[in-house]
Amino acid sequence: MSKIEKNIRELNKLQNLQQRSHWMNDLHPLGKLLLSVIYIFITVSFGKYSLAPLIIMAIYPIFGFIIGELSIKEGLYRMRLILPLVVFVGIFNPFFDRQVMFYIGGSGGQTGIPVTEGIISMVTLMLKGFYSVLSAYILIATTSIDDICYALRILHVPKQIVIVIMLIYRYFGVMAAEADRITTAYKLRAPKQNGIHYKAWGTLVGQWLLRSMDRAEDVYESMLLRGFKGDFIMKKQKTRPIDIIYPLIWTIAFIVIRHVLIRFL
């Protein structure tokens, strides 16, 4: 069950990042959320052959990772879940779309390596995939789920949805802890077994679900007992000039790349 441990560790790492003291963490969550969505929106709106301006769009993730002191390795590691479908969809473009766009190298009468439209469209697709994952990582590494929920509430996302999001996140912690406990206890008393015997899966999962439900009920009661009335009261965030200027400057930059710079590239 090292997979749970791995995921828990990944979440813990994220939590540690969210609790760093860094000016990007202190920015207003609404600005950061909107900025991420705008960035992704503009990125995917580029045509499938617009490689050059798309390369320029890298400035946002690059800035975020270097100035935000984030690990590119961690960011790229997060590609693993969506990569298969993106690769599957993109990898056949070079075979179906073989119109040559230009040649690399080659001088005089010698022609260089041809680059087809299919190759370009495959590369732009991959880049879009990378950018959107990286920019989402910048968001989540600097903003806690609670803060994102706060932003969602400002956007008038219904209370019911936001509470469920917060509870899922909380309870996930509870369930992960329960799963971790169960598997550790199992390992200690069945040291010779390699992992968990499949015959025990059903029992353990059932046990896990029931225990988690009980625990979750207790946790919920504990919330009610401390004045929870169906809406998370969040620490009000003050809006400072930087909270508006930062996303605004980036948005202008993206629009310039998308609509002005694109003509020169």
Binding site: K3, I56, F63, V89, F172, Y198, W201, L210, G230
Partner: protein, 339 residues
């Protein structure tokens, strides 16, 4: 089955957001009308359960990395379609934020593909009619499998349509469909088994937690709870069955994705006459057959595209330098002030 941001055009993403928001609005209204405060923690727990199940080892090996549980059917069988749908929205958002599974822009699509069909079609058209006259173990298993297989087929078909309409792939419709649907048939079946296992377990242990089961039935069951041991035996058998089928699967097709690639490559060869030649071969062919034709327009192509790309790379390189310089400068400065 999670769509990535890169796969959707803004127009498609927007449309799906509108559709999903519509369904969510209806659900919020219904849940508000129900006004059952006890439901909220259950929504949270079940959401977390679905979220967590996707990362445990007993999820399906061998069906490709995104072939994990969707959960819509399971959630709505316990919470009803409306609360189930809202919970799925939560699961999908948390997933996309924490594990980059799916994307912020593609969220609308994912909600539609995975939550809408599972919750509304699965719960309203399959689960409820089947459970109307009271539940039984067999009925639960049947409804779970039918529901999951059917709704996953719909979801997979939607993925295909959304991707193709977005215009980012050159894959022909027929090839795409012929690949997506069969894989998701298998995934749906396994998901059906897992869903059945969980629901049967809940049915035995806490029947009152299931949605849409005839009233009298619930009460009757409450009185005569089956021993947990029996339930566990059932689940163990199901889990073993799922494990067995999956391992069969896994050995036959080492990896769902790999398998689908082979599928596509194979059919592509038939349809597009040599479309799946090795990359090297393709390049060689292009260099030998196409130069005369392409060379004529290549003047402008080299002029714009190529130099554009080089220019862009230079800009990005400068930015990287600038960022590092800034960071260096800043840390040095703070070092000085600290000293």
């Amino acid at each position: 089955m999670h769509m990535a941001d890169a796969l959707v055009a803004p127009a498609v993403a927007g449309t799906m957001y509108v559709l999903s928001t519509g369904a969510a609005t209806v659900s919020v209204k219904k849940v508000r009308e129900e006004n059952d405060p006890k439901k909220i923690p259950v929504m949270g727990v079940m959401g977390a359960f679905v979220f967590a199940t996707q990362m445990l080892n007993f999820t399906i090996p061998g069906t490709g990395s995104s072939g994990h549980l969707c959960g819509g059917m399971m959630l709505s069988a316990m919470l009803g379609p409306y609360a189930g749908f809202l919970t799925m929205i939560g699961v999908l958002l948390v997933q996309c934020l924490l594990f980059a599974d799916g994307g912020l822009l593609a969220l609308g699509c994912n909600i539609w593909n995975m939550a809408f069909y599972g919750c509304f079609i699965g719960a309203l058209l399959i689960w409820r009619p089947m459970m109307k006259k009271g539940a039984s173990r067999v009925k639960i298993i049947a409804a779970s499998i039918i529901g999951c297989v059917l709704t996953l087929q719909m979801g997979a078909f939607s993925v295909t349509l959304e991707t193709l309409i977005s215009g980012i792939t050159e894959l022909p419709f027929s090839v795409f469909v012929a690949t997506m649907q069969p894989i998701h048939l298998a995934i749906g079946f396994v998901e059906g088994l897992i869903t059945a296992a969980v629901l049967v377990f809940v049915y035995e242990a806490r029947p009152e937690l299931l949605w849409g089961i005839g009233e009298s039935e619930t009460v009757a069951r409450k009185e005569a709870k089956l021993s947990l041991k029996n339930t566990i035996v059932v689940i163990a058998v199901l889990a073993a069955l799922a494990g067995g089928i999956v391992s069969l699967f896994a050995s036959a097709f080492p990896d769902g994705l790999e398998w689908s690639m082979e599928q596509v490559a194979g059919t592509a060869e038939l349809e597009a006459e040599g479309g799946a030649y090795a990359v090297a071969e393709g390049i060689q062919e292009a260099t030998s057959l196409l130069p005369d034709y392409a060379f004529k327009n290549s003047e402008s192509a080299i002029g714009t595209s190529f130099s554009g790309i080089v220019g862009a790379l230079v800009v990005v390189a400068i930015l990287v330098g600038a960022c590092y310089a800034f960071r260096f400068f800043k840390s040095k400065k703070s070092g000085v002030t600290a000293a």
